[in-house]
């Protein structure tokens, strides 16, 4: 005789708990996360350490990129139009490396075939989008922290000025960290679109992460605050003159884009073959 079966539908919370549990377990048990944390710490240290160094062949001393340590964290003002590498290279670079990390993280789901297990047991595709976005946002937020630590350590070693408005600095760091959610959702979305093409996923994440599109628009519009509606715009807006308004703008922008990308990604997953 056939066994009596009972099927209890898991709640949204239970489903997300399971999916997040897997993603965090994977994140902490694979070297990828730690490698990118190290990269995030090393990059600002390298930039600060090598700027102003003497060329051993020509004897020329390169001009120092930064005079203040905190300029490697954020620009003095929201500079959407970039005229030098020093105006561009700050904590926003985390979102470029972060994009590559997210692409590798999600790409391995597909490469290994593990995504089949996830989609077999999780009928609701939104679980996948939400979980990947949150896990990736966490990873990028951690990268922001190691980037900060690397910058401070290199700043102390190079003896650069540390003068800053502490309140604005804290808000800028906090705002950029919050932007991780929006960026992570964008990268998750891109990886859903290009899920069958690992290389294209990485290249597209890198392309959008550089903010080149917004920089291009800014070259036409100028330093317009309208650009704050975009992820790169808000990330730039979180500068060393940041205030509470900056924080609010970043929260709204990050959450709004996270919702948009999650809805769009879920729609694509529902309407197309996932593996």
């Amino acid at each position: 005789m056939a066994k009596e079966l009972h099927f209890e539908s898991p709640s949204f919370g239970e489903r997300i708990k399971g999916m997040l549990g897997v993603d965090f377990y994977r994140l902490f048990h694979t070297p990828l996360f730690y490698i990118f944390l190290a990269i995030a710490a090393v990059i600002p240290a390298m930039i600060l350490g090598t700027s102003g160094m003497e060329n051993p062949q020509t004897g020329e001393v390169a001009e120092k990129l930064y005079t203040n340590v905190w300029h490697i964290i954020a620009a003095e003002k929201p500079l959407y139009v970039v005229s030098s590498i020093a105006e561009y290279a700050n904590m926003n670079m985390v979102f470029i490396f972060g994009g590559i990390m997210v692409s590798i993280f999600i790409g391995h789901d597909y490469k290994s075939g593990y995504v089949k297990q996830l989609f077999t047991t999780h009928a609701k595709k939104q679980d996948y989008m939400i979980s990947k976005s949150l896990t990736s946002a966490f990873a990028m937020a951690c990268m922001c922290i190691t980037y900060l630590l690397g910058s401070v350590a290199a700043g102390l070693l190079t003896g650069l000025s540390m003068e800053v408005n502490a309140g604005s600095l804290i808000i800028a760091i906090l705002s950029k960290t919050i932007m991780s959610l929006g960026w992570a959702s964008l990268y998750t979305f891109l990886n859903i679109i290009f899920r069958r093409y690992f290389g294209i996923s990485i290249v597209s994440s890198f392309f959008f992460g550089t903010g080149i599109l917004i920089i291009g628009v800014a070259a036409i519009l100028g330093n317009s605050s309208l650009l704050n509606v975009f992820l790169y715009g808000s990330s730039v807006y979180a500068c060393l003159s940041a205030n509470v308004v900056t924080l609010i703008v970043c929260i709204i922008c990050s959450v709004a884009w996270a919702v948009i990308y999650n809805l769009a990604g879920t729609h694509i997953l529902n309407k197309s073959d996932v593996y």
């Binding site: 079966l5 898991p10 377990y25 989609f119 047991t121 609701k124």
Partner: protein, 302 residues
């Protein structure tokens, strides 16, 4: 209640039907052998049931519920094409991820239980990439078994296994249906192996289900025949054809179909001066039945 009920299911790729208005019924508790040639639509059907592919049209019900129901899907275990494990992670870590995914209360105990079922207790710490093909298939089964699934969907799980691996896999599948009340949908091109465990069959061709039957029905439909050898095969065939309607020379044997009485055959041959050197009663197996069905299908199409 049926474990799987599919009505009018279709899926096409670039305008070509991979699954063409398919109907399928898998009773609860069955080991359903899903048979068909390469590209017939077996894997596509399985992927549709698991929600990996989106159907063009049709209905899939699992245990009377829509297949997108979260409650029923969490009780489905699948091994489609490969185990779907991270190669750099250990067997234990891969199983732990699935245990967390399913929100299992005692993941360690569950992992131990499934590793025992697939006889891999000592391989928990082995990296997945270091496992042999047979081990990988068994890990795939273990993954699918986590959380006491009500339905197991296994696509070619015995592919590439050696004789011993096939025997172990057979024993595992029979064990889980008997002891855990699990329903198994299994595809394989090794029909001889499938025949040893399946309680029901579904035969698919060009995306269409051409026949569904239980193992008992299959048994009753299967032709019986007597196969024998004599010194003068051609002479013996001529003699046998005077009394029996379906006599063929196949695989170095004379086969007399639809006859169960071997004695009358021997008697008839002896009367006509032919001594039988070897004789045995047979029944057409799944493989031969399948081949006959396919050729009959081909003739119909012509």
């Amino acid at each position: 209640m049926n474990a799987i009920e599919i009505k009018d299911l279709s899926k096409s790729f670039r305008g070509m039907y991979a699954v063409d208005h398919l109907n399928m019924t898998v009773p609860q508790g069955a080991i359903y052998g899903f048979v068909g040639e390469n590209g017939s639509g077996k894997s596509t059907t399985m992927k549709l049931i698991c929600g990996h592919l989106v159907a063009d049209s049709g209905e899939i019900k699992l245990f009377g519920r829509d297949y997108t129901d979260a409650g029923v899907r969490v009780r489905v275990g699948a091994l489609i094409e490969n185990a779907g494990c991270f190669p750099g992670s250990s067997v234990y870590q891969n199983l732990m991820m699935q245990a967390i995914n399913l929100n299992l209360k005692n993941p360690d105990e569950e992992i131990k239980r499934v590793l025992e079922i697939v006889r891999m207790e000592d391989s928990a710490n082995t990296k997945f990439k270091s496992c042999s093909l047979g081990m990988k298939q068994r890990i795939g089964i273990a993954m699918a078994l986590l959380g006491e699934p009500a339905l197991l969907i296994l696509d070619e799980p015995i592919n590439g296994l050696d004789t011993d691996g096939m025997r172990i896999m057979r024993e595992i599948l029979v064990d889980i249906t008997k002891n855990y009340g699990c329903t198994v949908l299994i595809s394989s091109h090794l029909l001889g192996e499938l025949e040893k465990i399946a309680t029901h069959y579904g035969i698919i061709r060009q995306g269409k289900m051409i026949m569904e039957m239980s193992a008992e029905e299959m048994d009753s439909r299967a032709q019986v025949f007597v196969s024998l050898k004599t010194k003068d095969m051609k002479g013996a065939i001529a003699v046998l054809r005077t009394k029996f309607t379906d006599v063929r020379e196949e695989e170095e044997y004379i086969r007399v179909y639809d006859v169960d009485d071997a004695e009358s055959i021997v008697e008839h041959l002896l009367k006509n001066g032919h001594v039988v050197s070897e004789i045995k009663k047979n029944k057409i197996g799944l493989e031969e039945y399948y081949i006959e069905l396919m050729s009959a299908n081909d003739k119909e199409a012509v």
